[in-house]
């Protein structure tokens, strides 16, 4: 009994080791397959997200249900500059800040000028959180204003029909047309 016992044990250990090794190999293969599938899924997901965000070139960038339905005009334009500094948006004073755009495309409405001025409400706030008690229906995806960025905007005009509050207009003595009121503003930069 005593001689056989080690032999039996050795055989048993060997069998166990082989079994464990086989299981380990199977586990590794399954793991590799899972990782491969996950990577493929992520790649597909990213591709779908990118395609959804920029589905078909310039005319589709920044497009969503709001920007295509709000306001009386819809344009894609390049923000030419930010003239001077924004005033604080610390919750005390609210204002609209006038910015100048070069029009790249008119999606709807009658906007004939190549350059227009647009007033954005409380410009230091992300558009997603700019709506308040007095202007509950404004917004967009734009997080911050940067010169040379491209924005897709739903607009109304003239501003005095839609906004009653302080306006910081640093183009006052040079602008020719009306000030547009930005209802919805999405980022529409090239990818």
């Amino acid at each position: 009994m005593t001689d056989e016992v080690p032999h039996t044990l050795e055989s048993s250990n060997e069998a166990t080791t082989n079994k464990t090794s086989a299981e380990s190999n199977r586990g590794t293969i399954v793991f590799r397959i899972a990782i491969t599938l996950l990577v493929i899924a992520v790649i597909i997901g990213v591709a779908v997200a990118l395609v959804t965000k920029n589905p078909a070139g310039p005319t589709e960038r920044g497009r969503d249900d709001k920007v295509t339905s709000l306001g009386s005009a819809e344009v894609t334009g390049k923000l030419i500059e930010i003239r001077g500094k924004f005033l604080p948006n610390d919750g005390l004073y609210n204002y609209a800040f006038v910015l100048k755009y070069h029009i790249l495309e008119v999606h709807r409405g009658n906007v004939e000028a190549k350059e227009i001025v647009v007033a954005h409400y409380n410009p230091l706030k992300p558009r997603s959180s700019v709506a308040d008690e007095f202007y509950p229906d404004i917004g967009g995806t734009l997080k911050r204003f940067r010169a040379q960025d491209i924005h897709r905007m739903a607009l109304d005009v003239p501003i005095d029909d839609y906004y009653i509050g302080g306006i910081v207009d640093r183009y006052f003595d040079e602008r020719k047309g009306e000030i547009y009121w930005a209802v919805w503003t999405n980022l529409a930069n090239e990818p």
Binding site: L92, Y93, N94, F134, I164, G166, F172, D173
Partner: protein
């Protein structure tokens, strides 16, 4: 050894005498200064007391203030601050921004939900317009919430002017019908009708500047600038020829402090009325005879309505300009100013004054 000892003793004696004399002079000087200071305080207190006595019987002041229940209510007090009493007592709602009718018999004000923050410069768009007798009795809702915004009395008290996106509308109080409508021409808040009915004043976007005080011809709609750059809360003098307003001038280094100014309504001349570093001065309002000025002194800009109100003050217009506190930089700009007297009044927001005796009040 004796001679030096004697010399030392004499020197010590002289030194002691000189020191004692000097100490007594210092003490006397300090006493004198303390006496001067006490005298000045006594005189200042006497001047404030004289001002209080002078205005005590001159009608009533209505104002908004937080009640002990946490809502805003309307209160009446005598112009010296005596006899304050709550005239709305509505713990579930807030009332703010009261204005006496020109004859002092009625009030208009806005009623808001309890807990709603009163915007310091957009309050005229908030809540619901309410008309009541000047003692707060018989309050009547006039329209729905967000209607009849920035309502202001006409000189005869039979109409109100309102400011909204639609422009300026004149509304007949009996019929509630718009009897006249015209463009607002950039005016966006605080529109008030002059006592002679010929003008409006308001805060406007004019000339690219922000927060400009303008006067508008009530017939032609033509505007003229009264004061440019960072102004608000204009109101008329009884003569319809001058406007009082708050202004935070540029060049103060940093945010700056808001001061109380007056100007002729044609915009040709501006004068400081009251300034105090570390306080924002708002709520400028004239007594019905134009001799006294009411205002509030708030340490935080906008805190008058958005927090809990601010201590009010009353001064004679003939004592203007007054600069209070150290206000070193302000005093450099305005060297020939007075220090007072200023009669301190309770913490409040947007006080308004009538000389009428109010029914139901003692």
């Amino acid at each position: 050894m004796m001679i030096p000892t004697i010399k030392s003793s004499i020197f010590a004696f002289v030194l002691t005498v000189v020191s004692a004399t000097s100490a007594s002079h210092v003490a006397a000087a300090e006493e004198e200064r303390a006496g001067d200071s006490a005298n000045k305080t006594t005189l200042a207190n006497a001047a404030v007391q004289a001002l209080a006595n002078e205005v005590r019987s001159k009608g009533w002041i209505v104002y908004s203030a937080k009640s002990d229940k946490g809502d805003w209510d309307l209160f009446l007090m005598r112009p010296d601050g005596s006899g304050p009493r709550n005239i709305t007592n509505t713990p579930t709602q807030s009332e703010a921004a009261p204005r006496f009718s020109p004859d002092g018999k009625r009030l208009l004000f806005r009623r808001l939900k309890k807990g709603q923050t009163i915007s310091h410069d957009r309050w005229g768009f908030q809540g619901q317009l309410v008309l009541a007798k000047s003692d707060g009795s018989s309050p009547t809702d006039f329209g729905k919430p967000s209607e009849f915004t920035w309502a202001a009395w006409s000189p005869d008290g039979r109409r109100i002017s309102c400011l909204s996106l639609r422009g300026v509308e004149v509304v007949d109080l009996k019929t509630k019908k718009v009897v006249r409508k015209f463009p607002r021409r950039g005016i966006f808040q605080q529109l008030f009708w002059s006592p002679d009915g010929k003008w409006y004043c308001g805060t406007a976007n004019v000339g690219g500047e922000k927060w400009t005080i303008v006067r508008m011809d009530a017939n032609s709609g033509k505007l003229n600038v009264v004061s440019k750059f960072q102004n608000c809360t204009p109101d008329w003098f009884p003569d319809s020829e001058h406007v009082i307003f708050s202004n935070r001038p540029a060049g103060q280094g940093g945010y700056g402090w808001t001061q109380l100014w007056m100007a002729d309504a044609a915009g040709k001349r501006r004068n400081l009325v009251y300034g105090e570093d570390e306080r924002h001065i708002y709520g400028g309002a004239l007594s019905p005879d134009g001799k006294y000025v009411l205002f509030t002194r708030c340490p935080q800009d906008g805190g008058g309505s958005e927090r809990g109100g601010a201590p009010a003050g009353l001064m004679r217009l003939s004592d203007a300009p007054i600069i209070a506190g150290e206000s070193q930089s302000l005093r450099k700009l305005h060297p020939n100013v007075k220090n007072g007297p200023v009669l301190p009044l309770p913490v409040c927001w947007e006080p308004h004054w009538t000389f009428a005796e109010i029914g139901g009040s003692r």
